[in-house]
Structures are given as C-alpha cells and as structure tokens.
C-alpha cells in the first residue's frame, strides 16, 4: 500500500529520509506540471503569463516558495547521497552521511531562502 511509503513510526532516520524523498518527489512533480502550464500559457500571449506570475510571485506566497525550495534542495542533495550509496560506496558511514545530508540541506535552504527573501521583499 502507498501509505507504507510514509510509515515512519518506530523506524530510523533512514526511513524518514526515504519518505521525505518520495514526498518531495511528488511535490516537485506537481510543481513541474504547474511550471509547464505557466510556460505553455505564453502561447496565449504575454498577458496571461504575467497574470499567472502575479498570482503566485508575491510576498504572501513566500512561505510556499520556501517550502518548495526545501523540497528541491532536499530531493537534490539526498538524491546525490543515494547515488553514492547505490553504487556501493561508503555503506559503513551511512549514518554520518545521512546527518551530513540533513545538515547540508538545512544550510543550503536557509541561505537560498535568504536570497529569495531579499529578491521578493526587495
């Protein structure tokens, strides 16, 4: 069952990372569809695109943007971690690398979030 992807009770951080990876994957997929919709709207003229942008790119939606950013950063960094492991490397250090991954995600997210904040809030 699909809910089993998100079963974390009684499990280790590794399972949490897996669940989060799946979740962010789904979120990013939805975002990708939205993104393509936006781009497609250009075919109907510049106005419709700018209208859509004005709906979403504004201070009120900043929290969502930040969450989306977190999803992107986590999925990316964790993805690299998985590639390394799945090629059979550094299995023994998997706990350390997992903590490191969470750390890097946090730092990258905070810094990028700060930049984004500056950009939007001007």
């Amino acid at each position: 069952m699909l809910v089993d992807w998100f079963r974390i009770k009684g499990r280790s951080l590794h399972s949490l990372a897996f669940s989060f990876h799946r979740l962010t994957g789904i979120v990013l997929m939805i975002y990708l569809i939205l993104h393509l919709t936006y781009l497609t709207s250009l075919r109907f003229g510049k106005e419709s695109y700018e209208y859509l942008i004005s709906l979403t790119v504004r201070p009120e939606t900043l929290p969502f943007d930040l969450l989306l950013l977190l999803a992107t950063v986590f999925h990316g960094v964790n993805g690299i971690r998985l590639v390394i492991h799945e090629l059979g490397f550094v299995y023994e250090k998997r706990n350390l690398i997992l903590y490191l991954t969470f750390g890097i995600v946090l730092i990258v997210w905070l810094y990028a979030g700060y930049l984004m904040f500056l950009l939007i809030m001007g």
């Binding site: 992807w5 009770k9 499990r11 280790s12 897996f18 998985l82 799945e86 299995y91």
Partner: protein, 235 residues
C-alpha cells in the same frame, strides 16, 4: 512485578487489540510472556515460536512498532509492550503471517552452489581460504525471519519485488568462490523485481536481528549487476 501487554489479534474476520497482564521476572523475554498468556490466560492467542535462542527465525513480530525477535527481546527493557504481526506479510491469525510467498521467491533465485562438475557420487574437498570465506560469511547468517521485508517500502507496494532477505542470499552465493552460476542469477536479480527496485531506504539493515546488513548486500549486488549489464552490452 506486572506488565500490561497489548496484542494485536486477528481471527480471520476482524482485527482488534487485546490487553493482558503478565507477571514478569528478570530475564523474561517477550516470547516467555506470550507463552505465559497462552498457557495461563488465553489459549486462543496464536503465534509462531521454536528455538527461543534466535536462530530459527520463527518469532519475528512488531514490538512497539519495531520488528524484532520475540525470543531475544527482554521484556524489562521495554516500558509498555505492544505486539503486532510484522507488516508486508498477510496475517493468517493473530501474530502469524503467511510466509509462503517469501519462500517461493527464495526458490526462484537458485540459492545453492551451481557447479559445472558437480558430482553427487564423488564429492571432492574444495579449497576456500578464510579470507574467501569471510567475503560472504556474514550474508550466510540470514535466518529468514522476514524482519527486513516487513520494513522495506518497496516490498510494501510491489508484490513481485524479491526483497532484501532474498537478494542477500543471492549476493551470498555470488561471492562464494566455489560457485559458477553467476550469469544464471544475474538474469533473475538484474531486473524489474530485483536490484533496480531498491531505493536504499536501508531500514532493512537497521532492523536485522542478526546484523546481516542486507542493504549493503543489495548495493554490492547492484554494482555487480551494472558490470554484468555493461559486459552484456558489448558482447
């Protein structure tokens, strides 16, 4: 001292929680407690058990949300005790789950030495240095209790996935220097239902009661599969 034990029951139709109070002594395991319930309180409670020393693999159950061997879990080290059947296996009755499919998959992967000059009548002593033995020995310690499969998120959504325990067995034979059947097994594990489905949640290694490290075995098997596929491509 008394401990309250909550057990997930299933009688073929409905599933429910039941509570029992069990007197505990030092050294008592969860299996001892279950046996106490069966013999003194409720004889209908059903569960599997056998060796009570952690080698037969019968008694894997979910204790406080974590799959463990009931016989190896000291009850006094737990605060509350909550026992359920392990996930990803169909429940037959109470804590007893269906392992037929699991063992059927075990058969598929040819878990035995494949040798060209295998003679039943005239066996010979083969040479295997302690170093060669050590390469696969850890993976031969799997007791097939199903704990790893029960936490594998891929096993939970794909019935055809071989699962960590079975792939560990494959890796065990693939790294045995006496074996000559690697190509046959690659055909099975380098597939949709094999190594390519693993997404390294690595929870299997976290719960393995024998520290067999199934997650490691699967990743190593994946690398071997990659090399096999590349070689096949250029052939």
């Amino acid at each position: 001292m008394e401990v309250e034990i909550k057990v997930r029951r299933f009688n073929g139709e409905k599933s429910y929680w039941q509570k029992y109070r069990v007197p505990v002594l030092s050294g008592m395991t969860v299996l001892d407690a279950l046996l106490y319930i069966k013999e003194n309180i409720d004889a209908t409670l059903s569960f599997r058990y056998s060796c009570r020393m952690g080698v037969c693999g019968s008694c894997a159950v979910k204790i406080n949300n974590k799959p463990r061997l009931a016989c190896e879990t000291q009850i006094l080290q737990l605060k509350d005790v909550q026992i359920e059947p392990i996930n990803n296996f169909r429940v037959i009755k109470d804590l007893i789950t269906d392992f037929d499919d699991f063992f059927a998959k075990h058969r598929i992967v040819k878990p035995y030495l494949i040798r060209k000059n295998d003679s039943y009548e005239k066996p010979v002593e083969m040479i295997q240095t302690p170093k060669q033995l050590k390469k696969y020995y850890r993976y031969s310690l799997c007791i097939k209790c199903g704990a790893c499969n029960s936490v594998c998120p891929v096993s939970s959504t794909r019935d055809d996935y071989l699962g960590p325990a079975i792939m560990t067995t494959v890796y065990r034979f693939m790294t045995d220097n006496r074996d000559e059947g690697k190509d046959e097994r690659f055909k099975i594990v380098s597939s949709e239902r094999g190594v390519w489905r693993c997404h390294f949640a690595s929870e299997c290694s976290e719960v393995c009661p024998k520290n067999v490290e199934p997650a490691k075995a699967v990743q190593k098997l994946r690398i071997k599969s990659i090399i096999y596929e590349i070689k096949k491509f250029f052939k």
